[in-house]
Every structure is written in structure tokens, then in C-alpha cells.
Symmetry: C2
Subunit: 287 residues, 2 copies
């Protein structure tokens, strides 16, 4: 998905949020915004939003020394989600269709996103998503693909959401490789976040080799996933990709990719042709 | 009121909205945003939001030839408000306290703002504001000031809102000078808009001499009200100032100014110490 002009104000807002989260003073916040203005002016029309988000959050980390602004938010998110883990396992045990419930739980977890909005109630979201009709419902195709594959490459998204993904993965009969980010990128899960969620017990954890949101595959770019990860991706028969940033970077990568997400931002919703707040199991399209 | 960093993303969004309203194509929209990025980088910390808004909307007018992007929106707003005029006059005729109802109607009309949000129902807003407690209630001081003055200088805000102001002004015993903008500035009322609202029958209409939102008085600035208007302002005993932009430019201009507004944006709400959506009759403070 290309970066729409509507994304520009949102990048400024995200940068300001992140700078404040990092404890930046007013002057540092202003320095961040000034540099983001330069970033926005130089966006090539082919860039996806996560590529710009990557630049935005590197500026924030650069201007506000003190490490990863999202670290404590990520740790708190994982703890919060882990407290719901027993209730989610009960739901799964009672489910007539565990795959459907598992997919819905994994999508519910996608609310734990520090980008568009941090104001939500987690269990309310679970209950909403359990009852909500799919705006795009490629679940049957995903079910069929799952039954015919020897392994799933599962592209994670945010810390905390990892716990919801774990519940889904525990319901699979097929082994899973779970991909996290190679370093801090917004509140996206890294290896530490995946381990804290207990994913190392149910999946092989790999990283994309890149500390950027989404999954950037274009090897001609300076900031792209490692060739090791790229090989894994190319060889995968079935990819489950969580969240908006993976949708934004991979939406045209073909039918082996299934996106599980909530459309939280109006621009992605418009791109996918659904209302804001929709839940989607969406099969990828060819470029 | 100073420009907060939170205003930066909002200026980008407003510029994009305005450019689209002006019929700009994607490339023109991008050119507008690029120039706004430069504007944002060069904001002096002392600037008020209307001073930046002034620059933003001049960039839009400059990059998207075709006149005033808000012209048809303004005309439609005035017509919409005029259709409610008879109902408002009925409310006034039945009112136990016409000044209170008139002030509330004038504040209700302040919803007609193309800046923060264009999505509202006009009569719903009237009914809400008629029943809503004032978050800041300097109405008694305004009543007293009105009874002791020979003339009111009334600083208008948006086209359409002008009709609501007319209803309030028609309830006054004291003559009114109604100030409009000297040229197109967002959806702010100009002389034409005031005349279309019928204000020329109930007030002397003057203009600020400047096509910028709010009321910029600092004569050391290049973009400032005319010295003719400045003299009117200085000589006024009582000033009623409508809307957010007048609050942003005049909030520290002393106790002869009474602000009538809805706090529609979170930054102004925080500055005034009230929740978003509040209605205010607020007396000005000394610098």
C-alpha cells in the first residue's frame, strides 16, 4: 500500500507521541518535528507507510537519547495480555470451532497498537471481535491452506498481541515459525517480547533482521529485511501476517499471504474497502 | 495563546482538507504539504495558531489557483443557518432570559467551523448548547458590562455563525459594530458573508483589514489588522469575541474582552482548563 497524503499529519502526531513517551523536553520535541518535516518532504511516492514510520521512529530515537521509548509500554502490554491468557484458553476449550475463535482472538489482540490509538479496553475488544462479522472473510481459504501446508510463517506485530497469537498458534496442528522485528520499532514485538509472551514454547522464533515496522522485502532498498529472512519468506508456503504495517508492506505479495487485522485507521480501511473498526481475514493479491 | 506542538499535525491536516476543497490534484496537494512543512519548521515560539493558520491558508490559495476554497461552503453555511433563523427567533420570544438564550445561540453557531471538524448537526447543537452548563460562566459580568456601555465591538468568526450572532445582537439595547475579516481566511465571515446573514440591518459592519483568522493586533508584525481597525479596538469599551481563533489571538488582552465559544479542539480546551466540547463565556485576562 502506498503512503497517502492523509498519512502525513499522522506521522507528525506519532512522532510527537513517541518523543513525549521517550521523555523528550519541549525543545527536543520541536527538533523531532522539524526533522520529520524534512522526512515528509522527501517521501518518494512509492514508499509504504511503514518505510516512513521507520524513518520517523529512528529520528525520535536519535533525538531523544535514552533507548527505546516503547520498552516499558511493550512490557506492560505483554503482562496485561498474559493476565487474559487463562480466559482465552477457556474460550478455546469451549469453542465449537477453535480455529475461528483463535483467529478472532489473534485479531482482537491487534488492538494493542501504539500507532493510531492507545485508548481501548482489552477484554471489551475481545468480546466485540468474537461477535463481529468479518468485513473481509477469507477464513475458509485460510483453513484450507492450513490443512495443506507443512509449516506456517507467522509475521507478528505488536508486543502483547503476541500472547493472542500464541493462543491461535497453540490450536494449530502444523509447526510455526514466528517472525519478530530485529530491533526496536514502535511497539512491535522483538525476540524478547515474543519470549516474554511464551511464544518460544510453541514456535521457532526468527527475526526480520530489521528494526522497522511491517515486513520490507525489497532487497534494493538500504533498509530491508535480512537475506536470511527473505529466503525464509520466499520458501514459505503459507504466511499469516498480523496487523496494519504488514498489510501496508505486503498487500500485493500474492495469495500465499493471509492478513489478520483490525482496520484501525481510516486510510487503511479505505484502501481495503471496509469501514474503520472492521476485522479482516484477507488473502493477499498479486501485484 | 501560543502555538503548541500538538497544533503541527493539525495544520497539515487543515492544509490537506483546504487543498482538496479547492479541487487541487494529488500533485498540488503534495506541493501544499511540502510548503506547510517549511512553514512549520520556521514557526517562532511566540506565534499564535491563527498566525500559522494565516500562512497555511495563504499557501493553499497560492498553490491552488481558483479563488477562495471555502466560498461555496461559506454560502451553504449561511443558507443553512438562515433556515433556522425563524426557530431561533421563536426561542428568543419565549425566553425568560433572552440574553442567556441569545448568548447560548451565538455559542451554538460557533460549531460552524471548517477548522477542527465539519461533521455536526446544527439543530442538535443548538439543543445541546441551550441545556449545557457553562464550563466558564462569566455571563453575569458580561450582562453588567452590556448595561454600562454605549456600544459593543463584536468580533465575528465563521460564515453561518453570523446568523446566530445576529439573533443575539437583535436582543441588545446597545448599538453594535460587527467586525469581519478583510478577505478570505478559512471559512471566516467577510463583509459579503455578514450581509448575506442580514447583519447589515442590525449592526455597523467593519473589517479587520486583514485576511487572517482571529484578530492580530500587534502592529510590529507585517500581517496585522489595519490601524483603522486597531483604533476601533482600542477605543471600544466592551468587546465580544467569537470563537477559537479570536480566543487564541486575544486571550491575554484584558477584561474588556468577553469570549463566546465552544472548545472544539483539545489544545484550546487544555489552555482554558475545560473539557473538549465545553461552552464558555470567558472574560479576558491581563497579559
Amino acid at each position: 500500500m502506498k503512503t497517502y497524503l492523509d498519512c502525513y499529519p499522522c506521522f507528525l502526531r506519532q512522532a510527537l507521541d513517541a518523543a513525549r513517551l521517550a521523555g523528550a523536553d519541549e525543545q527536543q520535541q520541536k527538533a523531532v518535528l522539524d526533522r520529520i518535516c524534512d522526512v515528509l518532504k522527501s517521501i518518494p511516492s512509492s514508499s509504504t507507510p511503514p518505510q516512513i514510520g521507520d524513518q520517523v521512529h529512528r529520528v525520535v530515537r536519535d533525538e531523544t537519547p535514552g533507548g527505546d521509548p516503547y520498552l516499558s509500554l511493550k512490557e506492560a502490554s505483554t503482562e496485561k495480555a498474559l493476565r487474559l491468557y487463562p480466559r482465552m484458553k477457556e474460550l478455546m476449550a469451549e469453542a465449537d470451532d477453535p480455529l475461528d475463535v483463535g483467529i478472532r482472538l489473534s485479531i482482537a489482540g491487534n488492538i494493542m497498537d501504539a500507532g493510531p490509538n492507545r485508548d481501548y479496553d482489552l477484554w471489551d475488544t475481545v468480546e466485540r471481535v468474537l461477535a463481529q462479522p468479518f468485513a473481509v472473510g477469507d477464513g475458509p481459504a485460510l483453513r484450507e491452506a492450513l490443512s495443506g501446508t507443512g509449516r506456517v510463517l507467522f509475521l507478528g506485530d505488536n508486543a502483547g498481541e503476541t500472547v493472542f497469537d500464541r493462543v491461535l498458534i497453540e490450536s494449530f496442528d502444523v509447526p510455526v515459525t514466528y517472525a519478530v522485528k530485529g530491533g526496536p520499532a514502535l511497539n512491535d514485538a522483538t525476540r524478547d517480547d515474543a519470549v516474554a509472551a511464551g511464544l518460544d514454547n510453541v514456535a521457532d522464533i526468527v527475526d526480520t533482521g530489521l528494526d522497522a515496522p511491517g515486513t520490507i522485502l525489497d532487497q534494493s532498498l538500504e533498509r530491508t529485511c535480512s537475506s536470511h529472512f527473505r529466503r525464509l519468506y520466499d520458501e514459505a508456503e503459507l504466511v499469516i501476517a498480523k496487523g496494519q504495517a504488514n498489510y501496508e508492506t505486503l498487500s500485493e505479495e500474492g495469495p500465499k499471504v493471509f492478513f489478520l487485522l483490525q482496520a484501525k485507521c481510516p486510510i487503511i480501511a479505505r484502501d481495503a474497502g471496509v469501514p474503520v473498526g472492521s476485522i479482516l481475514v484477507k488473502r493477499g493479491e498479486a501485484r
